[in-house]
């Protein structure tokens, strides 16, 4: 699910960049904010950081004693993406393995559908392996699948999520 969030971050401008006044200073702050936002990539609570949409306010700068840098509290709005347990979403298969498939869903890549979560489907090995059920419904590379999220895990070091998903439920499975 994509979320619209409003956040308050401290943006640090180094002493060298402070010579600029007015508009140039604002530009430095925004540039810094956009860089910080991109580098942050994701948080456990809000999910993946897709984009900054508006700048809502820039507060008064506070000088940091030892470095001479100035800290500006900035309030801005942005869009994030988070997978919720119990949520139903569409994703695209990109890797088919013997015990399950990996899907991409939004910015999330480590979305895993285990063979135990698609009970009617059996693995069919080959050059382009797929999972097939007795109604000849296929789950293979580039297939879009509607699934339910059964669990998510935040990986602190990689700054990303892992998700386990399932097809057990009405109206779930590959969609054309």
């Amino acid at each position: 699910m994509f979320l619209k969030v409003q956040l308050s971050w401290n943006v640090i401008i180094s002493a060298e960049d402070l010579d600029a006044k007015g508009l140039m200073l604002q530009r430095s702050i925004i540039t810094r904010l956009l860089d910080d936002f991109a580098c942050k990539k994701a948080t456990k609570d809000l999910g993946y950081f897709s984009a900054v949409t508006t700048l809502d306010s820039i507060g008064e700068g506070k000088v940091r004693q030892h470095s001479g840098d100035v800290l500006f509290p900035v309030v801005f709005s942005g869009i994030t993406f988070k997978l919720f347990q119990g949520e139903i979403l569409d994703g695209v298969v990109y890797n088919v393995l013997k015990h399950g498939v990996f899907l991409r869903c939004g910015p999330a890549e480590k979305v895993y559908l285990s063979n135990q979560m698609m009970v009617d489907y059996k693995y069919v090995p080959g050059e382009n392996p797929i999972f097939l059920n007795n109604k000849l419904s296929k789950i293979g590379k580039d297939v879009t699948v509607r699934f339910m999220v059964i669990g998510t895990k935040w990986l602190e070091e990689e700054r990303e999520f892992q998700a386990l998903v399932s097809l057990e439920g009405d109206s779930l499975g590959p969609i054309s």
């Binding site: 619209k4 991109a38 984009a51 508006t54 809502d56 709005s77 993406f81 139903i88 999220v149 109206s171």
Partner: protein, 169 residues
């Protein structure tokens, strides 16, 4: 990933959006009580998210596509100036948006807002576009719970109204 260089236009557009004092509450660190396990099917997603604004894929698509177009005007290599998260988000919403026309997108939200839905439920419906009442309940089971269950008639009407938009897009 190459460290993104922010184009002048992107900065300018943010400067233009600069307006003082929005009174939206700032999201605090999420904390769910020990007993309540997250479950979107029952709309147990944390109070913070119940109050947060959710966006449908088609709404996000309009926003991200617009941003990307701005970058294309300013640079030969716009993909080099956005994060991977932006790129993957854009790719995803472009593919999974049922409605492309901005008026249609507005209408979808407007129609769904007439029914007593939580933001989260509204967006799941707008994203997955169920065609029958059974499908709608399967996609968003919580619409039949929480003490203000939507009756089948209301769900049917809602789906009919939505299907009208698609036809005239």
């Amino acid at each position: 990933m190459v460290h993104p260089v922010q184009s002048a236009l992107q900065i300018s557009s943010l400067l233009l959006s600069f307006s003082l004092g929005n009174c939206l509450c700032l999201p605090r660190v999420l904390s769910m009580s020990g007993e309540e396990e997250e479950n979107a099917a029952e709309l147990k997603i944390g109070d913070e998210f119940l109050k947060a604004k959710c966006l449908m894929n088609c709404e996000v698509s309009l926003i991200l596509e617009h941003k990307y177009e701005q970058l294309q005007q300013m640079s030969d290599d716009p993909l080099n100036q956005v994060s991977q998260v932006f790129e993957k988000s854009l790719q995803y919403v472009k593919r999974f948006s049922r409605y492309k026309n901005p008026d249609a997108v507005r209408q979808v939200r407007e129609i769904l807002s007439r029914y007593q839905l939580a933001e989260f439920e509204l967006c799941v419906l707008g994203n997955l576009c169920p065609e029958t009442v059974e499908e709608a309940i399967a996609m968003v089971p919580s619409i039949k719970k929480r003490g203000r269950a939507l009756d089948d008639e209301a769900i049917e009407k809602m789906l009919n109204d939505l299907s009208l938009i698609k036809r005239f897009e």
